[in-house]
Amino acid sequence: MADLKSQFNSFHDTIKLKEETEVLSSKRDIIINRIKDKLPENTDYSFEIFNQGSYAMHTGIKPLDSDYDIDVGLYFDMSKEDVKPVESKNWIYNALKDHTLDVKIKKACVTVTYAAGYHVDVTVYSANNNDGKVYLAKGKPTSNTADKYWDESNPKDLIKEIRDRYSDKEDRKQFRRIVRFLKRWKDNTFSSVNGKPTGISLTSCAYHWLSIQKETDLFSGVTTYKDLDALICVVSIMISNFREELVLIDEEYTWVSRLKVELPVEPKPDLFEKMTSKQMETFKSKLETFLEALEEAKAATDPTDAAELLEKQFGSDFPIPSKSSTGKKAMAAAVIPSSESAFELL
């Protein structure tokens, strides 16, 4: 009945992206200053800069490949009727391109890559629309017309929704820990980018399906958070939420099992929509292996055995305690007695 509380705590400390590391914020400041300086040369629309992405939601983890992702959002005071999406992304591109850096226009953002394992994703929004909604600029200069569009998006609402999930401070911390554990599991278990669930999709699973797992001791009044139970809870609900769907594959209708999860804010798109049937199948079987490991770890008496099972799922940042660190200290070495035993036919 291992609960591995101290192993989960130290694992969390290891993988957690501290919200404002100096390097990250200084890299971001460089880009922000550059945008503030150069953007007015490219457009007359006024804009507001804000931090987005997982560190703004307090759910960031350190990347395994040490390629840190810095997300910057730009809210332009303009309507989507007045400007074409790719045109607005070109303003950013032009403002940043002389910056001796690698700058690329991607589908959803403009990406600036540093040599030293950092990249900054700049996202452009049209924030002054008649319908009161915010839209994200999508498309590359080379994209088909159908792929260049303004896509409804509410990054600020999303950050607030995720960051403020659960009113109780300690409950909120467990939610954030569980999100980080799921994300590190994903990074450790999926080797290629293809078919790897996104961070925000797993964050949304925890947002919708986690129920906080804690225990309060009636005598001492001390509350203990059960992260292993919380993971078992959210992963088992994810697995049970897969639904059979009839899909046309190679001109034949086949039943495939799919999981859907909504982004917590409008327009609430299904975040697993882009996964192929094959990728869904892989995702489900990885989740089942994960749940099995979590259950076996919980059932294990020896914390070392339990941690070894979890290390396979979470990777080497999950600590395996030495036997001696799990056992009570004896006062003195035992003096071994002699002993006699026999077998007698009664």
């Binding site: 749940l291 056992g327 009664l346």
Partner: protein, 177 residues
């Protein structure tokens, strides 16, 4: 928790089960498979196999106070072994204990005795019970001592409280989540 159990049943996940025993104080005793395998090597399968035995060494977990038997000593040259009798001297077993004590930085305890019987399903003899009663009255640090008898088809685990109560046979159960 009920909802989670329901989901688990629905999902039909197969869970590997551990062989564990519940103690009179509701703590759990777990015998590590390596330790069990070591004792099983000495099963008295053949007519000429003699009794074997040794001491049990293990941990009491900080996390929940459960007991784990990690190590067992094997018969030493000075021990007396016949078909129906095993007399264990402290020699060699004490050194074995000290070695583990050093390696585990003092986080191990003397947990009792194991021995074999040339029986399909082992039953403790009068000598065995008398010895066990003597041992639980020596004040060892652990609250319980354990006694394991390895038969040919099965093995039995007994437990005695060092505060001097009766020796009980422990029923094995398969731990689920």
């Amino acid at each position: 928790m009920i909802a989670v159990l329901f989901v688990l049943m629905k999902v039909g996940i197969h869970i590997n089960r551990n062989l564990v025993y519940t103690l009179p104080n509701n703590k759990i005793l777990f015998i590590r498979p390596e330790a069990l395998a070591k004792m099983h090597q000495y099963k008295q399968v053949k007519w000429r196999d003699t009794e074997a035995g040794g001491i049990l060494i293990g941990r009491i977990l900080i996390e929940d106070g459960n007991y784990i038997i990690d190590e067992v000593s094997e018969p030493m040259l000075t021990d007396k072994r016949t078909r129906i009798r095993f007399i264990r001297k402290p020699d060699g077993h004490q050194e074995y204990f000290n070695k583990i004590w050093k390696r585990e930085k003092g986080t191990c305890f003397y947990f009792g005795e194991w021995h074999t019987h040339p029986q399909r399903i082992p039953v403790p003899s009068r000598t065995d019970r008398k010895e066990w009663n003597r041992l639980i009255n020596i004040s060892f640090e652990a609250d319980f001592l354990f006694f394991i008898i390895i038969g040919i088809d099965d093995f039995k685990v007994y437990c005695g409280s060092t505060s001097g109560r009766k020796i009980l046979e422990l029923n094995r159960r398969y731990e689920l989540g």
